[in-house]
Amino acid sequence: MAKLKFIVFCVLMSSFRLLAQEKFTISGTLRDKASGEELIGATVVVKEIPNTGKAANEYGFYSITLPKGSYTLKGTYIGYEEMTKTVNLDKNLKIDWELESGKMLQEVVVKTTKEDDNITKTSMGTEKLDIKEIAKLPVIFGEKDVLKTIQLLPGVKSAGEGNSGFFVRGGAADQNLILLDEAPVYNASHLLGFFSTFNSDAIKDATIIKGNSPANYGGRLSSVLDVRMREGNDKVFQTSGGIGVISSRLAIEGPIQNEKSSFMISGRRTYADMFLKASPDFSDTQLYFYDLNAKANYRINENNRVYVSGYFGRDRLGFGDALGIDWGNKTGTLRWNSIINSKWFSNTSLIYSDYSYEFKVSGGDNSFVNQSKIRDWNLKQEFQYFPSPKNSWRFGFNTIHHTITPGSLINETNANENDIKEDRKALENAVYVQNTYSVSSNFSMDYGLRLSSWSILGRTTYNIYDRDVKTDSVVLGEGAFGKTYFNVEPRLAFNFILNEKSSLKAGYARNTQNLHLLSNSTSSNPTDQWIGSSYNIKPGISDQISLGYFRNFAQNNYEFSAETYYKALQNQVDYKNGADVQTAPDVESELLYGKGRAYGLELLLKKKSGKFTGWVSYTLSKTERLIDGINEGNWYSARQDRTHDLAIVGMYQLSPRWSLSGNFIYYTGDAVTFPSGKYEVAGNTAFYYTERNASRMPNYHRLDLSATYEKPRKGRYQTSWNFSLYNAYGRQNAYTISFEDDENDPSRTRAVQTSLFRWVPSVTYNFKF
């Protein structure tokens, strides 16, 4: 017995000794040397221990815990010069890094770090866009736009010609969680989709996650697009801006107190309407948008920092006072970052988000208005814990209070109370935990769990329908809880590193969605309405499995990836045929429900450094829906089903002054419904339709070119000219195809194709001082 006790004692002692082997933590932040901006995702690598690289979190913070000893640390970030520091680790250390941006414009191309992140990291279906990287790509009207650049990636499809709307892996446009400094942006488009709400002057970076998001994200089925605003230079004042064909931009930033607090304000306004005013036909026409981004931050002390940021944007389209529509988003984020100690990081965010539209028609004495609004208050708390270089944790909660004012058409001059629809309220909650763990040097996993709930709150009456027949109704008093839906969302990702150059990854994720965008149109409209899960509308659920192979070539100069996915969607919502979306007393009586499935293969080959950079992306995919009441209950191709989608993007640094870029896009036609026959009814020609979306639009292709000239720097002044040509060979791509009686020959009908944007040249002048 005594012997056994001794053994136990020894085992305990040895494990105690093992634990007692002294370990210390190195932590700090990674910043840009010139502006003080945090570098999200910059990495600190320990040379002595391979695969211990620690990427900075979204606030530039990193933490590595290592046994006592001497180490060589490398701070690296794409496009920045590598920095090395040697440390003698015998106590906890705080090491901040200030990396210097690579001087791309010098004769010698600086050797920037060639990362093998895509091999070593577990994340799949994730692409990060650096705004500086994409600045030189050709874009329509010369408006740099992060939403248009992500459409050049595999698995992300544009919603149409020149459109900032996008579909990810067969998901609908409303299934993308678009965040601006953590605040959801409900309608990320301007001017009916031709521009996005993201003014690239104000943006630091954007990450898109195609369905395999970690547990800290939730609420949408298909993707997360996480856009972060810049903090503003905390060292020197800077003014930058641009004058373009469509709009002008101006941004001012600088320190409030040197290296302690800074601010950034950026605005943009289009002036298309000023040109229209020149023509007498359009003298009454209003057509513009503007937006404003502002951010400030303050370092309370070494470990605590607060940020406040906001966005405000509005579109206006109208003819005199007779017809007008305006819409826009407002968001606000108040954040508090706290480095609790070298291993613990906390972030608390209070977020406001608002989207509204107003549509007004007046004729004579009366004016009618249709307005709708969605408004959120959102509280997020997250803790991050870094116990060892192999292991890190994130956990927290998120609670959102939603208020939705459904669209109702009201006669302003002679309002009828019954026409006004009641606000709908809901509470959305989630708790989550996520762990990133390197099991061995060639196997790591990223797994997490998110528990989410959606509770309907009073005061409103909810009707229950069987098809469109009302069977019951539930009256909820002020503040009363109605139905609550609970969902468990596992998120898993595994990475098997095959060798230094290749890895195999697999993932599974379930996502749920309680806010649904109702649209009966083939394209997105500002007047599409958001509606929450209710007694009839169940939370949407998606289950996605994906498998990927990642391979790097030529010292990580080339990256190749192949990913496949299969996604099953439940509780999809659509309007019934001929739904009355404007005036129906309860829009829920106009809805149908069903499911969907999507699968595909995505290939990406990227050249990351050298004078010539760029990528080729290809997607092969299929997206289908099955909705009871549509297409006689048979599977049909979804509106976003597109079989082949190819993008080739290239950028070439011709000389220190001149850089050239181009992209070529080719995709096969989207699924559409064309008539199978025609007849006459009520004195008009009508068309007869058979299957839903059984036809295809013509194939689409286009080449865009751009050249950027950077003038030699004069003191503080930096200027550049960007010339671009959209649709360089003037292809007439079909925007819409409509069917009509031939005006010249009433005995026949014809199909008419409308094309937009052939040869759109533009020039933008950018400055910075």
């Binding site: 005199g320 004729g363 001929g578 194709q753 409308t754």
Partner: protein, 269 residues
């Protein structure tokens, strides 16, 4: 860079606006399918029922729709009267005894070439059209005449919810082709305040305008509402097209409507 230089560059580029959109007729390889029957039936107060039966043709064919002759068409009025309609013209069938009454429900059966189609419709109680009001329009989209007019049908919607209306507007004998329907989802029980907007059918001083108002039942409202919304092809594509929601059972297109009918004409001055 001087600002005036930039401005001149910008101005020279504005000419590009005209190039942004262009239209052309195209040839598409559209499905050819078996012809469908199209039934258009109406019965109005104190008038005989009229039913027209035609067939669809392929999109590429001329607008020459085959008339369905020799069909067996019968009508009953819900009060025990049933009669076989007489083919008074090619593909046009008419009742001989049964005429329309408010509040009655009519059932139609069409048997043609081995197919049977049925439909039911109820004639609503009439809502009196008391007049039409003309007002100068403040709505002048690009290309319109500065001085154009819009008209307001004058009637009081009954207090009970569920009234539907269809309007047919005629200007100097020319019929406005767009379908105009309304219901009391908005402004139930109130005097009508909604104008008939016809931006592509301008009314100017001196025009003779006739407005016809039909009180229709809900299935017919749904038919015309969906006929209107699903056939439209606005910029950006409009609604996903489908066949309108019909009250005819058995797989035919079209509608069978019992409705009241009132007409008022005025001269715009």
């Amino acid at each position: 860079m001087k600002t005036n230089k930039i401005a001149s560059i910008l101005l020279s580029l504005t000419g590009a606006w005209g190039l942004f959109s262009c239209e052309k007729e195209i040839t598409l390889d559209l499905n050819s399918v078996n012809a469908k029957y199209v039934i258009e039936g109406e019965i109005t107060p104190n008038q005989k029922a009229t039913v027209r039966v035609i067939k669809t043709v392929d999109f590429t064919e001329p607008n020459d729709f085959p008339l369905v002759k020799g069909a067996n068409v019968s009508l009953s009025d819900g009060s025990g009267n049933t009669e076989k309609l007489v083919e008074t013209g090619e593909g046009v069938y008419q009742s001989q005894k049964i005429v329309g009454f408010e509040g009655k429900t009519y059932s139609l059966t069409v048997m043609a070439e081995g197919n049977t189609f049925t439909a039911q419709t109820t004639m609503p109680t009439n809502v009196k059209l008391t007049g039409i009001k003309v007002q100068k329009s403040s709505f002048s989209p690009p290309g319109s005449t500065a001085e154009n007019y819009i008209i307001y049908p004058q009637f009081i919607d009954p207090a009970a919810f569920g009234n539907s209306y269809r309007f047919i507007q005629t200007r100097n004998e020319e019929k406005y082709k767009s379908i105009i329907v309304a219901n009391d989802n908005i402004g139930n029980g109130l005097p009508n305040s909604r104008p008939i907007l016809s931006p592509d059918f301008e009314i100017v001083l001196g025009d003779n305008v006739t407005l016809e108002m039909h009180c229709i039942d809900k299935p017919i409202y749904d038919y015309f509402f969906s006929l209107n919304s699903v056939q439209g092809n606005g910029p950006g594509g409009g609604t996903i097209p489908t066949n309108p929601v019909t009250n005819i059972k058995g797989g035919a297109l079209g509608y069978f409507s019992a409705h009241t009918q009132q007409k008022i004409s005025i001269e715009v001055k």
